[in-house]
């Protein structure tokens, strides 16, 4: 299979998953107990008002027509209106999406170098006290729920010593430094969540690599340790490491939802959770599609980069 075919296959599954989600939601609205127009207007609404709203929302037309129309509009960036407060969804989402991206990027900037450094160090000093300690600590962090990490940080740095705010209220007109300061704790929490996974995967990748025959061969030939790492290990380590980074960035997309709720951060995850609670389906749908598309895109990038970095993957079996 060529590179293009592999990528196309992955992209196909991703798009199919997104498509299934949208169909699921459309069908869900259909089988929802009670009529959509009725639930917007409330039980006491006059029947002809409900009928008028049904026409306005287009509910009197068949499902596949409405679905086609929705898809057409969505692809052009028109995501419809929220059921809860009648606002344009694109308007609701805009600033929040930027806030979430800001949080995720800041966490990635801290987490990636830290995790790689720790992972490589642990792998090179395998089975030493350093390696074992770090392995235990990260195993602990993986087992912790994200919100515990968040609240421990709050208890320590916002309550015990009042260094950072417990609630990250950031607004677009705040200067960048102030925004960074306000989001210190969520960024730190997210970093802890991701570093543990990323570090362990990096370590496993490097350990695996250092055990391969060509490294042993180099060692037996008497090549200097530094030269082995730079000339033999590094070129081969590149592809698994890139893979680890991108996979964990995808993981970060999910972790961000819980962390945003902990710190009452005005991001997309918070909006999504609130919308699920009031069952505001169009907003949930838009949020899930944005998160989902990001996730799928990141996974796809990981695939492409690892195939480019490792030609062997282009010829499975």
């Amino acid at each position: 299979m060529g590179l293009l075919q592999l990528v196309a296959k992955r992209l196909g599954f991703g798009l199919l998953a997104l498509f299934v989600i949208t169909v699921l939601i459309s069908l869900g609205v259909e089988v929802l107990p009670g009529d959509l127009a009725q639930s917007i207007l409330g039980q006491s609404a006059a029947p002809d008002t409900v009928a008028a709203l049904r026409r306005e929302l287009g509910l009197d037309r068949p499902l596949h027509v409405r679905y086609g129309e929705w898809l057409f509009n969505f692809l052009q960036g028109d995501m419809g209106t929220s059921l809860a407060n009648k606002r344009e969804i694109s308007e609701l989402i805009g600033q929040r999406l930027l806030n979430t991206l800001f949080l995720a990027v800041a966490a990635a900037v801290v987490a990636v170098p830290l995790a790689l450094a720790l992972g490589v160090l642990a792998a090179l000093h395998r089975e030493t006290l350093f390696d074992k300690t770090i392995s235990m600590v990260t195993l602990g962090f993986i087992s912790l729920p994200e919100f515990l990490i968040g609240y421990i940080l709050v208890a320590l740095f916002a309550v015990q010593v009042n260094w950072f705010p417990a609630i990250s209220n950031i607004t677009p007109d705040m200067p960048l430094l102030k925004q960074l300061y306000a989001s210190t704790l969520p960024v730190a929490a997210l970093t802890f969540v991701v570093v543990a996974h990323m570090m362990r995967m990096t370590r496993a990748a490097i350990v695996n690599l250092m055990q391969s025959p060509f490294i042993e061969m180099a060692q037996l030939k008497g090549v200097a340790a530094a030269r082995i790492i730079v000339h033999h290990a590094l070129p081969n380590a590149l592809s698994p490491i890139i893979n680890v980074i991108v996979l964990n960035l995808a993981y970060l997309v999910v972790g961000v939802v819980v962390i945003e709720v902990v710190f009452v951060y005005p991001g997309l995850g918070q909006l999504m959770v609130d919308s699920v609670r009031v069952r505001d389906l169009p907003v949930v749908q838009a949020c899930v599609l944005i998160f989902g598309a990001t996730y799928i895109l990141l996974n796809l990038t990981a695939d492409i980069l690892s195939i480019i970095g490792n030609p062997r993957l282009r010829h499975p079996k």
Binding site: S135, G140, Y151, A155, V159, V254, R279, G292
Partner: protein
């Protein structure tokens, strides 16, 4: 018996983990007997009264209920639901996985592609969609999470059964005229059991953390039932006053998942030689 003998030789982390698990199970089973108060009983309407003020072990929660009682009942509710979900996920995943591997052909292709689609998307988002359509209730939670989680069980059981179903003894059973269900249960299952047991522990942790996260987001087990994730959420405001109440249920979650991980770690090393972790 053999298990006990082998376990006696395990290192201290695995033994400590097992001890913690047993304590949790004991609390879950006997919560009504150990707990000093009823699950939703309000003692005094003093939110977050400390242990000394209220004369209780851990103080009171946001409505003035005994925190220790709530934690005990939380063990009962949360662990039970997590176990039920994991069992259901394994039943669905293993049945579908073995079936796909033994039958093969179009059935296998179809099931595998469905699983590919579900796994191309984070579990949390799938769950949020379904919950916003159907609303949050315990039966919905159980079925939705079990189905989403069964995809991973499917992958593993299918891969295991693929190797087993080409064995001579399966061929013999087929020639003998045994039915599909009999082959899956009597020939494939016993040979795939060891890796699946280890996976059960890991899946339980995942489900347990997932349901706690959902409850924390207000989308899981609903109040007034005591549940650790919801308890963190309900008491979260206390932390800004320097009261550590929300950390208690959160720690209860963390300690159990770490304990299960320690035991699974031992089991994996024991059964598959030295396996480097990912």
């Amino acid at each position: 018996m053999l298990f006990l003998k082998e376990f006696a030789k395990a290192g201290w982390p695995a033994k400590a983990g097992m001890a913690v698990i047993l304590v949790y199970l004991f609390c879950a089973v006997f919560a009504p007997l150990i707990a000093p108060y009823a699950e939703t009983e309000v003692i005094i309407t003093a939110p977050w009264a400390s242990a000394e003020e209220s004369g209780t072990l851990l103080g009171l929660d946001q409505l003035g209920r005994d925190l220790w009682t709530r934690v005990l009942y939380g063990a009962r509710n949360t662990i039970t639901i997590a176990i039920v979900i994991t069992l259901l996920a394994f039943f669905i995943g293993m049945a579908a996985g073995f079936f796909a591997a033994v039958v093969g052909g179009v059935t296998d292709q179809l099931l595998s592609r469905i699983v590919d689609i579900i796994m191309a998307f984070p579990t949390l988002f799938f769950a949020l969609i379904v919950l916003s359509i159907l609303g949050t209730s315990v039966p919905v939670l159980i079925v939705v999470i079990a189905i989403l989680d069964s995809t991973r069980v499917f992958r593993i059981s299918r891969a295991l059964a693929m190797d087993i179903s080409v064995m001579d003894y399966v061929e013999v059973a087929k020639l003998r005229g045994e039915g599909l269900w009999w082959i899956m249960r009597r020939e494939v299952l016993p040979n795939a059991l060891t890796p699946l047991i280890a996976e059960f522990g890991l899946r339980f942790c995942f489900v347990f953390l997932f349901i706690s996260a959902l409850s924390f987001l207000g989308l899981g087990i609903q109040p007034p039932a005591a549940d650790w994730g919801s308890m963190v959420r309900e008491n979260a405001a206390a932390i800004t006053y320097g009261i550590m109440t929300p950390l208690v249920p959160a720690l209860a979650i963390a300690i159990l998942t770490i304990a299960v991980n320690l035991v699974v770690d031992w089991f994996l090393r024991k059964t598959s030689g030295l396996r480097d972790e990912v």
